[in-house]
């Protein structure tokens, strides 16, 4: 959490907390874990009323944020979402919103962006392959008579089966493949398309997942015809756009993780004070106390780097991509440290389905590997520094 907040930002936070308490705390989310959408009724519209999909969109297109720094505002919401393990396609909706706001055609903005801002449609981001990492050509676009044909399959697509719109990246993003030594197929030139899920040849499949609070699936494209009007930005020129989207996704994903880490840690801290063993609260044993101190350090350090990343991306700093990757790498590791470390303090009770700790473990672990694992981001950091792949 950024320690510098305006009064308006405090109000934004309070409003988010109030809404979450009323409608979607972990208990509610648990009950929703077996439904298709995983969301309470009218969740998208109600959160849209709070401006959750508007903050990265200029006022001219129906958006707006309380401080004028939309990402910093949104990060506050993200943290509260994480704290209460909120469901729904918060990150992909905002990624698509920012993509359309920056690069969409008038028609795309009128038809889709306005609906996203209003929470009337579910749009999601289809950018990685089925292995969950950026693969060269997970989806390929071929020019054809009057448009393009899309083929391929994307994995780890949030709310794949409920989505009405897909922001698809064809060709290869400029980021490194996970095996850094492999530079083959890393040439630039991706193109982004806004594709209706109803298009012929689009097939979405729901998957089960470690995370019980969010829904993921695959989307396959079998010779899906899309007209030129579906292109977002320029043909072969989406590299910078995709980078910007990644940065937004990283900041929001990290902020959610920070909220979840902080809430889980606080549950654990309280437990260590209340739980008695050997005639003492277990938190009075140095063996437990030191674990908690280390976890608390990880929460504080995580908040520090998350804040730095939020500010860097908000300001469009030249090193924003690097700082965002640092935040994702560091928090991604710390999240698992904390999720696992808290289990150690809870002991047996943490292994019961009814206890919330596994919901946090699941969400945090998925967050750690989604949008690039810590290892992936560390390699990216080296590449952003132009450290030669071959010395």
């Amino acid at each position: 959490m950024d320690l510098e907040r305006t009064n308006d930002q405090e109000l934004l936070r309070d409003t988010a907390v109030k809404f979450i308490k009323e409608t979607g705390d972990p208990v509610t989310v648990r009950a929703l874990s077996t439904t298709t959408t995983g969301m309470p009724e009218k969740y998208l519209q109600r959160t849209a009323d709070l401006g959750w999909y508007a903050m990265l969109v200029p006022e001219a297109f129906g958006g707006g944020s309380v401080s004028g720094e939309g990402l910093r505002d949104l990060a506050i919401v993200a943290e509260e979402r994480g704290r209460a393990l909120q469901p729904g396609p918060f990150v992909p909706m905002n990624v698509v919103a920012t993509a359309l706001a920056r690069r969409g055609t008038d028609a795309q903005r009128d038809e889709v962006l306005a609906s996203i801002v209003a929470g009337e449609t579910l749009a999601t981001w289809a950018v990685v392959g089925t292995s969950g990492v950026w693969e060269p050509g997970a989806v390929r676009a071929t020019a054809t008579e009057g448009g393009f044909l899309l083929s391929g399959t994307c994995g780890a697509v949030q709310d794949a089966v409920c989505a009405e719109w897909l922001l698809v990246t064809a060709g290869t993003p400029v980021w490194p493949a996970r095996v850094s030594a492999s530079t083959a197929g890393m040439s630039g030139g991706p193109t982004q398309f806004l594709v209706p899920a109803s298009a012929t040849g689009v097939e979405a499949t729901a998957l089960e997942g470690l995370d019980l609070t969010q829904r993921f699936g695959t989307v396959s494209f079998r010779d899906v015809f899309v007209p030129p009007s579906s292109v977002v930005g320029e043909v072969g020129g989406a590299a910078e756009d995709v980078e910007h989207q990644l940065q937004i996704a990283l900041v929001l994903s990290v902020s959610e993780a920070i909220g979840a880490m902080d809430a889980l840690f606080e549950m654990t801290r309280t437990y260590s004070i209340d739980r008695i063993a050997f005639g003492r609260p277990i938190g009075s044993f140095q063996g437990v106390k030191y674990q908690l101190a280390d976890m608390s350090l990880a929460v504080q350090a995580g908040m520090a780097i998350a804040t730095a990343a939020t500010r860097a991306v908000q300001a469009g700093q030249p090193d924003a991509g690097e700082v965002a990757s640092m935040a994702k790498a560091w928090v991604g590791d710390a999240a698992i440290d904390i999720a696992q470390g808290c289990f150690q303090v809870f002991g047996g009770i943490g292994f019961t389905w009814e206890h919330d700790s596994h919901l946090y473990l699941r969400r945090l672990t998925m967050g750690s590997v989604l949008f690039g694992s810590p290892d992936w981001h560390r390699e990216r950091i080296c590449q952003l520094h132009d450290i030669e792949v071959r010395s």
């Binding site: 990685v128 392959g129 089925t130 292995s131 969950g132 990492v133 693969e135 994995g155 780890a156 996970r178 095996v179 030594a181 492999s182 499949t205 998957l207 089960e208 997942g209 470690l210 995370d211 993921f216 699936g217 008695i276 063993a277 050997f278 005639g279 003492r280 609260p281 009075s284 044993f285 063996g287 437990v288 698992i336 696992q340 289990f343 150690q344 002991g347 047996g348 009770i349 943490g350 292994f351 019961t352 389905w353 009814e354 206890h355 596994h358 473990l361 699941r362 672990t365 998925m366 750690s368 590997v369 989604l370 694992s373 810590p374 290892d375 390699e379």
Partner: protein, 424 residues
């Protein structure tokens, strides 16, 4: 074993066993495809245990159950070599597999009862165990007594010739399938905690006893919580002396460690294939060529082998008897530290692609399940912290952690702990 009787000729015994096995038991399929899936459901466990009971009954009827156990209790009263001979002959047959009851009933609870229960009780009880009719679980841990085993608060009150038990137990493994349980209770609250404990054998269908499976974080129901609401048991079901329960407990803990250790005592074989599950996950994620992933594979593989080498070393130490038995804690701590690391390596290697899966693909959730279960061994059967205390104080001879509950009445401990201020 009554040494005045003539023992059967070993060759004939072996030959008879072979013939009996061929007639009554099924051969195991050569490729053991019966390997269990990652997630054992209630239904799966129920069927498994019913099958085992039937097989155990066959053994009992054939005279091959309790080969070394006393005849008085329904056993065969033979020396260990006959048991070994039978097991060798039975190597390729399907034998009863009671899941964790293999150890809780046969290696831990019943041997402890044989040592501490009354002969009258044992005469009626043990034959049914040997016949597969009685499976025994442990009513041991409590919601407020996990690591602090001697801190149980389940109360047993004497009422004439019986005892009335009230309280709650938890982590009773497979109690929903058990017939009896061994229950640790507090019978005196006015003495230090180790001195007011008493054990009882409790039928699981006792009035007032509710056994409820706990859904674990994986969804599997391997453990139960158990509510004792005025459960009456006759004094004859008592195991050991009144208020001497800690002695019985120690005897049980030694057997638990023994049971846990048995898997490690084989001499170390080679390291075998490179962590096949993780290599498969890496291959599926297309990451097998990634040097960073390869480091993780080799790391997990090496830790696995070190764990086995350490188990062998501990078995050697124990056999040589030249070292404190606390050394078994090393094996437990190694697993408690490295199992979560291995589970995490799985997630790091498999990546986001393996954290979502098609439920129709068998084993697609393997990495995720292993991950969820990863920290169980860090906690169950003694947390990493308890192992570190044990190694520190009992093996390394480090000065003791100050104790606030071993020398005052348990009632007082409960009161004082609510007002902890860290003062001497």
């Amino acid at each position: 074993m009554n040494t005045t009787e003539t023992l059967p000729d070993m060759n004939i015994y072996r030959e008879n066993a072979r013939r009996w096995l061929a007639e009554h038991m099924d051969q195991r399929p050569s490729s053991d495809a019966s390997a269990e899936s990652g997630l054992a459901t209630e239904e799966f466990l129920k069927k498994k245990i019913a099958t085992a009971r039937a097989l155990q009954r066959k053994l009992f009827d054939g005279g091959y159950s309790g080969i070394t156990w006393a005849k008085e209790y329904g056993g065969q009263g033979l020396p260990l070599e006959y048991d070994v001979a039978f097991l060798e002959a039975a190597e390729h047959y399907v034998m009863p597999d009671f899941d964790t009851f293999n150890s809780t009933t046969f290696d831990v609870c019943v041997p402890v009862m044989l040592e501490h229960s009354s002969p009258e009780f044992l005469r009626s009880f043990i034959p049914k165990v040997l016949a597969g009719e009685l499976l025994v679980c442990q009513f041991f841990s409590e919601p407020s007594a996990g690591s602090d085993l001697a801190g149980v608060r389940t109360r047993a009150t004497r009422d004439g010739d019986q005892w009335v038990i009230n309280g709650q137990k938890i982590w009773s493994t497979l109690a929903q399938f058990a017939d009896w349980g061994m229950c640790l209770t507090r019978t005196n609250w006015d003495v230090p905690k180790h001195r007011g404990l008493t054990w009882f054998a409790v039928p699981c269908d006792s009035a007032g006893l509710t056994i409820r499976p706990i859904r674990q974080i994986t969804g599997s129901p391997h453990f139960c919580e158990d509510f004792f609401d005025d459960v009456a048991v006759p004094d004859g079901y008592r195991i050991g002396e009144v208020n001497n329960g800690w002695t019985v407990t120690q005897s049980m803990l030694v057997r638990e460690r023994g049971a846990a250790r048995s898997a490690d005592t084989m001499s170390p074989t080679g390291p075998g294939d490179l962590v096949p599950d993780l290599v498969a996950a890496a291959r599926k994620a297309g990451q097998l060529a990634d040097p960073v992933v390869r480091q993780k594979l080799a790391r997990a593989h090496t830790n696995d082998y070190v764990s086995r080498a350490l188990g062998f070393r501990i078995a050697q130490m124990t056999a040589q008897g030249d070292l404190n038995t606390g050394v078994a804690a090393y094996g437990k701590l190694f697993k408690g530290v490295y199992t979560p690391i291995r589970a995490r390596i799985g997630v790091e290697i498999a990546g986001a692609g393996a954290m979502t899966w098609d439920p129709a693909t068998p084993g697609a959730d393997a990495t995720a399940l292993a991950y969820l279960n990863g920290r169980l061994i860090s906690i169950a059967g003694g947390t990493n912290e308890m192992q570190r205390n044990g190694i520190g104080e009992r093996v390394l001879g480090l000065p003791r952690e100050p104790s606030f509950d071993t020398s005052k009445p348990f009632n007082e401990v409960l009161l004082d702990s609510a007002h902890w201020n860290g003062k001497d």
